[in-house]
């Protein structure tokens, strides 16, 4: 089992969610995040004073999947999360981590069954 963390552009969330559905990945957890990376922030000005906003709004997805779903999941995210045909700087990253066990709170099921 793997724990997949994906950082994407907020505007792509809906599309990614739908792409994941088509490969039958229906469960995930979403948090709002701020990214620092190659994509630059912006400058705000208030009463003549400039403020550097160094962060860029991102959305973070966490998806626990069985091993065989890893590549399809990555594929679905990459395809749906790109902005524009080529992708743009700031489109984000996917991180894949080992996942040792899972527990479904409701049923106490464990392992793959609990995913």
């Amino acid at each position: 089992m793997k724990y997949i963390v994906a950082i994407i552009q907020p505007s792509r969330l809906e599309a990614v969610k739908e792409a994941l559905s088509t490969i039958e990945v229906f469960r995930l957890t979403v948090t709002e995040a701020q990214g620092i990376g190659r994509q630059r922030g912006h400058t705000e000005v208030y009463r003549g004073h400039e403020y550097q906003i160094n962060f860029v709004r991102k959305v973070k997805l966490e998806i626990a999947v069985d091993d065989k779903y890893v590549e399809p999941t990555i594929e679905a995210i990459v395809n749906a999360a790109r902005t524009g045909a080529e992708g743009k700087i700031g489109d984000g990253k996917i991180f894949i981590m080992p996942l040792e066990d899972v527990v479904r709170i409701r049923t106490r099921e464990r392992g793959s069954e609990a995913l």
């Binding site: 505007s11 701020q34 912006h42 400058t43 705000e44 000005v45 208030y46 403020y51 906003i53 962060f55």
Partner: protein, 413 residues
């Protein structure tokens, strides 16, 4: 009449108009917050700045150009004379009747850009909108005003001689609200839908940001409206309690119809109150309070169903729903005065349904024409819409370089 009495009357008129002008001025804060609450967070600053800027531009345009067009009185004289200017004459003891009258009527004129603002929100360029507002308050609106309320009486005379009564629009359901709503229509259509409002032909709905702010805007408008209607008497002695109570009943009709026909939807309840108030302006001095109740209630229904029709059927992306609200309910108000104002419905009489229809329709037609003209010309020349990147980013950052909640934008603050 003796002198001290005359003096008291002058003072009374001045106070009356000032109270009215200040109440209606405060309504513009209501327009601002109604829009702040309805647009997304990324467009809230823009809503605030637009309303205030439009007010500033309207003031200059209406005093210098608009009021002279409508009433033939101008203010090119020294302060001492200005103080005494009363109905175009320099009267000793005057307290500034004409400039106050102009101030009061400015607060109406300035509603035009404030109304449009809510329809074109979230995607309109800033300066073209300021410019369009200037044209309307300086020229477009005063022209129609001059025909209905002012010095160009030809239409009114003709209506009177043909149908027994001229067009009756006490506080501007047609002259002000319908005018604003119908000008907004071509503007909104020419501008096009916001990005994301329809995706692959599916209506997506763009959520409003803040219902308490929207409610606040609605409350400010409702309170100020009593100035709008009551002080439309024009002078202190002409005050009519009936106008106040009819405004109340139309608002309440709008609230209750909005409540019942929308399953307690906060948007329709709050806007229902406004629809009622818009619809009653015309006939507030001549209908019975219970008639006012239905004028307002029907006004709310027209808004509710008109809004759904506009946005879902016609796919016109009217952010605050200003065309059904001000345009349709305003037009309904003009016509309703011709119905509920009749004696057999408990009204005061002296009003002709035909004249009301002619006046109302002519207002809508005129409004659509000048709207098309001005926004069409702007679209052809400087453009009226933010580019895609700006729109996505939001007009706050794109135009004003600042978001509505800067502290939140800076994580580490």
């Amino acid at each position: 009449m003796n002198a001290p009495f005359q003096s008291l009357q002058y003072a009374g008129d001045a106070l009356f108009l000032i109270v009215g002008a200040v109440l209606v001025f405060s309504m513009h804060a209501g327009f601002a917050f109604l829009e702040v609450g309805t647009v997304r967070k990324k467009n809230q600053v823009n809503a605030l700045v637009k309303i205030l800027s439009d007010w500033g531009v309207s003031t200059v345009m209406y005093f210098v150009i608009g009021f002279p067009i409508a009433y033939g009185i101008n203010f090119w004289m020294n302060a001492g004379d200005l103080l005494q200017l009363t109905n175009g004459k320099i009267l000793a003891g005057g307290r500034g009747f004409d400039i106050l009258h102009c101030f009061f009527l400015l607060t109406f004129a300035a509603c035009i850009p404030a109304i449009i603002s809510g329809g074109v929100a979230e995607r309109m360029k800033f300066w073209p909108q300021v410019f369009a507002g200037a044209i309307f308050t300086g020229v477009g609106y005063p022209l129609f005003e001059s025909v209905m309320w002012g010095k160009n009486t030809f239409l009114q005379t003709w209506l009177f001689s043909s149908f027994g009564s001229s067009f009756h629009d006490y506080a501007g359901s047609v002259v002000v609200h319908s005018m604003g709503g119908w000008i907004a229509l071509p503007a909104i259509v020419l501008l096009g839908q916001r990005i994301g409002r329809w995706v692959n032909g599916r209506s997506m709905g763009i959520p409003v940001s803040n219902i308490p702010f929207l409610g606040l805007g609605s409350w400010i408008l409702a309170v100020g409206w009593f100035g709008f209607n009551v002080m439309s008497a024009g002078n202190f002695q002409a005050i009519s309690g009936l106008v106040a109570v009819n405004s109340l009943f139309a608002m309440v009709g709008g609230i209750l119809f909005g409540l019942i026909f929308s399953k307690a939807d906060p948007g329709f309840v709050h806007n229902g109150a406004l629809a009622g108030l818009i619809a009653i302006c015309s006939g507030s001095d001549i209908v019975h309070p219970f008639g006012a109740f239905f004028i307002g209630g029907i006004g709310a229904l027209i808004f509710i169903f008109g809004y759904k029709f506009e946005t879902e059927k016609l796919k016109i992306d009217d952010v605050l729903g200003v065309w059904p609200l001000h345009g349709l309910s305003g037009s309904w108000g003009g016509i309703a005065a011709g119905i509920f104002g009749q004696k057999f419905l408990g009204g005061m009489g002296g009003v002709s349904l035909i004249s009301q229809i002619v006046g109302t329709v002519s207002g809508a037609v005129f409004a659509v024409c000048i709207g098309l003209l001005v926004y069409g010309a702007l679209k052809k020349t400087v453009g009226i819409r933010l580019d895609e990147k700006q729109e996505r980013q939001g007009s706050d950052l794109a135009i004003h370089n600042i978001g509505a909640y800067p502290e939140e934008d800076m994580l580490s603050a």
